[in-house]
Subunit: 192 residues, 2 copies
DNA sequence: TGAGTAAATGGACTACAGTCCGGTTATGCC
DNA sequence: GGCATAACCGGACTGTAGTCCATTTACTCA
């Protein structure tokens, strides 16, 4: 039995790269909000059908663009140095410190790419909670909250203020620093 | 100087009532998601222009439909008996108890009208934080958190898991009871 | 009562997300 | 190289949110 590796066809690869490049450029120039999928397709020299079949929807395109940076953060969490990562055996950071480190790092990532993350979370309804990345963050936080009564539910609660939509609104009202402080205060309240 | 009261014209009042009735009926029958604004306009015997000028957008229509119930909750908070309301002077409930009461009451309201609230919050981007109701809840919670370092920022954090989108996703995963418990646990953590 | 006017109306129109499918092209195999 | 086929392509098409404005209608006041 040969589970043949269905390699990506050359034209498909070329088109995917063209779309990602074009999208990144357009988003940079005009802002994420103002760019339509038609515009992305046109700029990439590709039909709409291709665009949608490959990325599913607008949220999927955003996820693809964020993929690289997201992976970096995820690997730092899984394998990197403490306190963000687990650190060397026998000298692990405390859950409290790991949680704070995660929230700080995630906020950096979020605030740096707010519009794009927002698009990935809100372009289609419920998108945020379906994305693989959310599952990853949730699992991580739940593990760090293992000593609480309901780590799974509490992890969702802790992730709620990290929604792009929420961060955007709160940032606009109180600024980055107070948003950061509030999220860390929440973590402390949960691991106190 | 006469700041004359620009009374609503009879045809306008009639049409508004027709729209609200039609929308309520359609939402009940087919579900909020599945009803288009065209359908509402047609069912109400009204043009699309009328519908949109009066309610702004889909979120505005949802807000108008929720208005009544929302008012009841808001008045209970402002003037009702403790612990939800302030109670009689000299025998006020503690901020902690009032916060718990508010969250429990709000969750009742939210879970009872989840789809409609969700539409009011997500139909247009950022809608949730612009609605007057959100300002009200936020102010109330911030007052109850007066002893914390940054009540304004913390109040936003506390309201984050009450977003319809969040409640919907978490409810689907862990059910109503654990969602409730998690939100109350958060309140306790903040007023501990 | 009837003319003047500001408000309200409604449907044609635009823009955009997302679907569909007949035609095209890269790739594996002989 | 040439053929079979599965993957890919792109643009026409649909459905929906929201806008626009020429026309109509309800109220005001003389």
């Amino acid at each position: 039995m040969r589970t043949s590796p269905p390699r990506e066809r050359a034209d498909a690869a070329r088109n995917r790269a063209a779309v990602l490049d074009a999208a990144a450029a357009l988003f940079r120039e005009r802002g994420v909000e103002a760019v339509s999928m038609d515009a992305v397709a046109a700029a990439a020299g590709v039909g709409k059908g291709t665009l949608f079949r490959r990325f599913g929807d607008k949220a999927g395109l955003a996820v693809a663009l964020l993929d690289q940076q997201e992976r970096v953060l995820q690997e730092a969490i899984l394998f990197g140095p403490a306190p963000l990562g687990p650190g060397p055996a026998g000298a692990e950071a405390s859950p409290r410190d790991r949680l704070r480190a995660f929230l700080a790092a995630y906020l950096d990532y979020l605030l740096a790419h707010l519009d794009l993350v927002r698009m990935s979370e809100t372009a289609s309804p419920g998108a945020r909670y379906r994305i693989g990345a959310y599952r990853f963050w949730h699992r991580h936080v739940a593990l760090l909250l293992a000593r609480r009564e309901d780590p799974v539910a509490d992890a969702h609660t802790l992730l709620a203020p990290l929604a792009a939509e929420h961060a955007r609104a709160v940032r606009a009202e109180v600024g980055d620093e107070r948003l950061r402080a509030a999220v860390l205060a929440l973590a402390d309240a949960f691991t106190g």
